[in-house]
Amino acid sequence: MEILTIGLLLGATYALIAMGLNLQYGVARIMNLANGEMLVAGAFGAFWVFTAQKVSPYVALLFVVPAAFGLNWLIYRTLLRPLVRRAKNRGMLEVDSILATFGMSFVFVGIMLMAFGGDYFSYSYLAEPFVIFGSPYGLNKVVAFVAAAAICGLLYLGLNKTRTGMAIRAVAVDPAAAGLAGIDVPKMSTFAFALGGAVTAGGGIMLSTFLTLDASIGVVFTMKALIIVIMGGVGDVRGAIIASLILGLAETAVASLIDPGLTLAAAYLLFVLVLLFRPQGLFGRRPS
C-alpha cells in the first residue's frame, strides 16, 4: 500500500517532467536531450533560494519558471530554428536536434559544474510527515503531487479548451497542414518549446524538495522523461500522465522490493517492453 502511494506521488512529479518534453518533442519536434539539465537547473534555483536567501523554495517558482520560459524561448529562436529551417525532412530534423541538444546538455552541465561544483546538493524542506491512509509521507512529496496534478490539469485544459491550445495541438499533428490553416507554426513551436522548458524547470523545483541531486544527474531524468513520452504516445497528455504513474509505481516497487540501485534498469525494462510490443505508446498513432 505504501509502495502504491509513494509510487503515485513520484509518478505525478515525473509527469511534470514528461509534460515539458511532450510539448517540446510533440509540438516543436525537438527531441531535447538537454531536458534533464533544465530540470536540474530549476532544482539548483530552488536550492539557492532556500539556502542562500532562506526563503521557501516554492518562491523560486515565481522567478525560475518565467526565467526558464525565457531561456528556452531564446534557445529555440537562436539555436534550434536554424536546424528546423535546414532540415529537409522530419527524420533529418530529429537527428540534428538530437545532436544539437546533446551538445547543449554538456554545455549546461559544464556551466552548472562551474557555478555550483560537482557535489550533491539537497535540502530539507517541508519534510514533516503527512498521513495518508495511516502511513506517513513527506509533506513535500504531497505538495509536489498536488502541484503536479494542478499543472497537468491546467495544461490539459489549456490544450483542449483554448484556441491557442488547439493551435498547438494542430501543429503537433501536422505542422504543414496547420500552417495552411493560418496558424503561425514557428511562433507556436517556439511557444511550446519555451513552455515545455518552463514546466520542466518547475518540475525540477518540486523534485528538489525531496531528492538529492547533482550537476550531472540530468541525463537520468532525460532518459525517464523520454521513456514516459514514448510509453504514453508522443504528444498525448493523458498518455504521459498514465505512463508517468506507471513508471513511478514500477520504480518504487523495484526500489522497495529488490534494490534502490536498479531503478534505471526498471525503467529500461519498461522501455524495452514498449518498444517490442507497442512502439507508438499507449495513445500514440501507429508509426508509418
Binding site: 527531441m31 536531450l33 539555436l79 536554424p82 527524420g91 530529429e94 537527428v95 540534428d96 538530437i98 545532436l99 544539437a100 546533446f102 551538445g103 547543449m104 546538455s105 554538456f106 554545455v107 549546461f108 552541465v109 559544464g110 556551466i111 559544474l113 562551474m114 541525463v219 537520468v220 532525460t222 532518459m223 523520454l226 521513456i227 514514448i230 534494490d259 540501485g261 536498479l262 534505471l264 534498469a265 529500461y268 522501455f271 524495452v272 518498444l275 517490442l276 512502439p279 508509426p287
Partner: protein, 314 residues
C-alpha cells in the same frame, strides 16, 4: 580497384609498416601516451562510423560496450587466459549489440538514440549492483604483465582489422544495402532489403570492436571502477571525433581523432574543470558549422572548384 583506392591502400600499408616501430624510438614514453589514445579512438571512432555513418542512427552507447569489455577482462583476469578474455569480450559486445539492435533498429532512429543514451548508465548501475551485492567491493584490480607496448600493438592490429572489415563491408551487398537504407528506407524495403537485419549486423560489428577495445585497454587501468569503465565522456568524445572528421569515408574519423586527441591533451591540462563545457561547445560548433565533417567539407569545396569525382563512397 580505382586509382584512389590503390593510393589509399598503399598509404595504409606504409603506415601499418611504420607505426609498430614507434615504441622503439627515443622518448617513447611520451609518444606512447599520445599514440595509445590516438590508436584507441581511431578504432572506436571508425567502428562507430561504420554503423552510424550510413544509417544516421547516432549511437551514444560506445561506453556501454567499452565498459563491458573492460569488465570481462577485469572479472576473469588470473582465472582465464587474457587472449580468451579478449575474445569473450567480443562475444559479450556482440550479444549486447544484438539485444539492443533487435529491440530498437526496427523503429525510427529516435528510439535507438534514446535507448543508447542511457544504456551505459544503466549497465553501469547493473554492474554496481552486482558488485555491491555479490562481490563486496566496488572496483576490480587488473594486474597483468601486459606492457604499454603490447597494448599499442594490439590497438594497431584492431585498427588494421577495422579498416579491413570496413573496406570489405563497403564493397559488399551489406554496404550497398546500407547506402540505400541511408538514402530512403522505403525504397530499400521495396527493393527487397531487410533493413532491420542489415542494421543489426552492422551494429553488432561496431559493438564487438568497442568491447574488444575495452578489453585491450583494461590492463592499463590497473583498477577498474564502474564510473571509470562506463564513462559518458567516452561515448561523447567518440561521436565528436567521428563527426569532426567525417563519417562518409572510411578514413574520415581518423582525420577527426588526431587533432582532437592532441587538442584535448592541451585543454584537459589547462582547463581541467571546464572539460565538460568545452566538449559541449566543440560538439555544437561541429553540428552547426561542419556537419559533414572536415573530410566532407574539403570534398564539397573541391567539388565546387571543379576537382571532382562522381558520387559514391570509397
Amino acid at each position: 580497384m580505382t586509382r584512389r583506392e590503390i593510393r589509399n591502400t598503399i598509404l595504409a600499408v606504409i603506415a601499418f609498416a611504420i607505426l609498430p616501430w614507434l615504441p622503439f624510438l627515443k622518448d617513447s614514453g611520451y609518444l606512447m601516451s599520445l599514440a595509445i589514445p590516438i590508436a584507441m579512438y581511431t578504432v572506436l571512432a571508425t567502428s562507430w562510423a561504420l554503423f552510424s555513418g550510413p544509417t544516421h542512427y547516432i549511437s551514444l552507447a560506445t561506453a556501454a560496450f567499452y565498459g563491458v569489455g573492460a569488465y570481462v577482462v577485469a572479472g576473469g583476469i588470473g582465472v582465464v587466459p587474457y587472449a580468451v578474455l579478449v575474445l569473450l569480450a567480443g562475444v559479450a559486445g556482440a550479444i549486447l549489440a544484438a539485444l539492443v539492435g533487435l529491440a530498437t533498429l526496427r523503429l525510427s532512429g529516435v528510439y535507438f538514440v534514446i535507448f543508447t543514451l542511457g544504456l551505459a548508465e544503466m549497465v553501469r548501475q547493473l554492474v554496481t549492483w552486482v558488485q555491491n551485492n555479490f562481490t563486496g567491493s566496488r572496483g576490480l584490480y587488473v594486474l597483468t604483465d601486459i606492457t604499454e607496448r603490447i597494448i599499442y600493438w594490439e590497438l594497431l592490429v584492431l585498427a588494421a582489422l577495422v579498416y579491413l572489415i570496413g573496406w570489405i563491408v563497403n564493397r559488399s551487398r551489406l554496404g550497398f544495402a546500407m547506402r540505400i537504407i541511408g538514402n530512403d528506407e522505403l525504397v530499400a524495403a521495396h527493393v527487397g532489403i531487410h533493413s532491420a537485419r542489415a542494421k543489426v549486423i552492422l551494429f553488432v560489428i561496431s559493438g564487438i570492436f568497442a568491447a574488444v577495445v575495452g578489453a585491450v585497454m583494461a590492463p592499463r587501468f590497473t583498477y577498474i571502477e564502474p564510473s571509470l569503465a562506463f564513462s559518458p565522456e567516452l561515448s561523447f568524445q567518440v561521436v565528436i571525433m567521428a563527426l569532426l572528421g567525417g563519417v562518409h569515408r572510411l578514413w574520415g574519423p581518423l582525420v577527426g581523432v588526431i587533432p582532437f586527441t592532441l587538442l584535448w591533451e592541451v585543454i584537459a591540462a589547462s582547463f581541467p574543470t571546464q572539460t565538460v563545457l568545452l566538449l559541449g561547445v566543440a560538439f555544437l560548433l561541429i553540428v552547426y558549422f561542419i556537419p559533414q565533417g572536415v573530410v566532407g567539407l574539403i570534398e564539397s569545396l573541391m567539388r565546387r572548384a571543379g576537382i571532382g569525382r562522381g558520387s559514391g563512397d570509397g
